[in-house]
Symmetry: none
DNA sequence: TATGAATGAGTTTTCATTCAT
DNA sequence: TATGAATGAAAACTCATTCAT
């Protein structure tokens, strides 16, 4: 039992070490250019060992993604502050601020989240991991939806389908982030990235509040 | 003279054929997985011929992108309808509908546009092509900004910086499209893609119109 | 007849133009890196035309080589000065000086001559051209041999086989030129190229003159 | 420890095997026409494996060159016979004979040495390997220079700059070898290669000994 | 469990040469 | 005679993944 436990802990630690190395390498060289060799070298293990802990390069990516979500979600939950008596407006604002903060503090994780599309995750990743990514992502979205629902119940927001509206906000914010992540498009807009992010939320909020009409 | 003309036409046609083949292949296998070999095979020419018409794989992509823009832009311009006396509201709505229409009719081009980020275009593509992409993209955005400016001048919209606001709309709509393009996220929202797109615009418009406050 | 003549002249002129272009391109980009396309572009003709006048890239090279020889040989002949009453010593010295001069004035042609080995001339070039290269090269060598023979007849040189001795001189001088053409070896010797060339000849001459044992 | 040692030995052996295969292939097809695929096939390993042991095609060449030098140099050193009391004349003769012997026994390595010019070694090869080539080459030349210096000190040779004179000899001998390596030129001289080599040295030696005048 | 050697298909790109017009 | 589009065989190099030890 004890041995089994130590084994499991050892294994988890090693996996974490490799993940840490992958993070460094992926973020520095870019996901495409970084090779599994690079990851192994950075983790100071052999390439074979990497494959002992992860079934594929994509799988490493998926775990990294999960890690990003595991950072983001507590922050969103804290921002939502379920136990405090807060206005829907404030709640939403705090959620968005938390996301903005996350985008700013962990640009690499953000890039991963935004690029979620890319990899052939579904094919190359174990069903559990894929499921977990889905669950975690949804959790975030549901917090937003909950804040919106609160607003509609309090009569300050107008939204028929809170989950859809949360999706709209989520998409719009990501759209803003995506837009400004691209040099071509940045040349088009000519303001700092944050301005677009903020403007997006303000506009969205105004739309949400415009209940008459 | 006639010979030269025919030559030029032949050349243009062949280039178009290859582009068509590339479109097929890129859209079916995905940009990453499709190879120049695939393109050549699809176009029923040799690989060398492909390189006779395009300087690199990225260049093919860029031309495809340009083609997409050359479809989208006239539609946006028609939607804007400069010569007609239209309300800003209507103009904006028509622009967004045109974009939605485009997204629906040419999902492949859309994917290209949304994926613009990827490639290292700037490095692998002739300066002219890159410039053209930038110019064309900007033209679309400026139409949107113009409609918004008209609204502010007419007192129906509130927007300090029309170009920024246009960027917000553009980003938000793309965000919606992106969101729904991803199976993971589609599973999260549980409505059809168009609904998110429409909801995004309606919310944005309401925000724009909420001039008091 | 006249028409045929003009045709022939036209053809010769065109061939010369292409050769000129090839010279420029080969010497600037290096023989390996220069392509037939480059040559055609420089000559302002189509690639097909190049192949109308030369059977292969190697053939162009061979003709260039021939051109180099056609510059070098008159100079060697002038240096030999058959009609003047000259000492063998002087004659030889003049020949070597002429070669040194040529090496200095036409480094590109020299490179071609020294690299004669490289190409698969014999296979890719018409028998006539190959024969001509051989004949021309031999003519130069024979001049040197003649000067040496004169010296042995006058009793100032010791050389059993003048042609062999001429070959030795020729080889030694080329060896010196080759040696100094290479950066690795230049770092080894640490003097200017000309010094090695001159020293080679002086040593050779002394050896030639040391007739008493 | 033992494992590591065996690994290292295994690795060295494999590298040697590939080098052996490369030698065969390069020497048979010529350096230009031989491909890395050929080398891999000859070594009966995959192409990837070749690149596991050598960073580039040029690098293989460099190692081959180094191998040739590692054969030649001990023979030159033995020929110099530092501990024996020998006349400079004899020493030099032995050095040249050793070189001739090498040229005869290892014509392929010789070809590599003579063709050293070609490749862009400096760019494609690790600095260490390049340095080593330079060092080894220089060592041979210095032996020759030392013998010449001994001769000048003993008053039997006349040479202001022994290193330069050694370069002259080295260049002349290589020139002779080069000359006879080429079919075109061999047809010109009409004697066996060795004769030119020997004649070169004899003439050089006589020049060196002609101290009066 | 850990290693790292081995794989080999796959990638983009080049270029001498041919040939229909 | 001149054109230039088309060819397609190479070529060098990469890298995710496997597997014997």
């Amino acid at each position: 039992m004890t041995t089994a436990q130590r084994r499991a802990r050892e294994r988890a630690r090693r996996q974490q070490e490799i993940l840490e190395a992958a993070k460094e390498v992926f973020f520095e060289k870019g996901i495409h250019r970084a090779t599994v060799d690079d990851v192994a070298a950075q983790a100071e293990v052999s390439k074979g060992t990497v494959y002992l802990y992860f079934q594929s390069k994509e799988s490493i990516l998926a775990h990294l993604l999960l890690e990003g979500l595991s950072i983001l979600l507590p922050q969103l939950e804290a921002a939502y502050a379920p136990q405090e008596p807060l206005s829907a407006d404030k709640r939403l604002r705090q959620l968005v601020e938390a996301y903005c903060q996350f985008a700013h503090t962990y640009p690499h994780y953000l890039r991963l989240l935004l690029a979620l599309d890319r990899g052939r995750f579904q094919e190359r990743v174990s069903a559990e991991v894929y499921q977990e990514i889905l669950t975690e992502s949804t959790r975030g979205l549901k917090l937003v939806a909950k804040a919106i629902r609160q607003g509609t119940e309090e009569g300050v927001f107008t939204a028929d389908d809170p989950l859809l509206t949360a999706g709209v906000l989520w998409g719009a914010l990501n759209g803003a982030l995506n837009l400004m992540a691209n040099p071509v498009r940045r040349e088009m807009i000519l303001v700092e990235p944050e301005a677009v992010f903020d403007a997006t939320f303000e506009l969205f909020l105004r739309g949400l509040q415009a209940h008459n009409r």
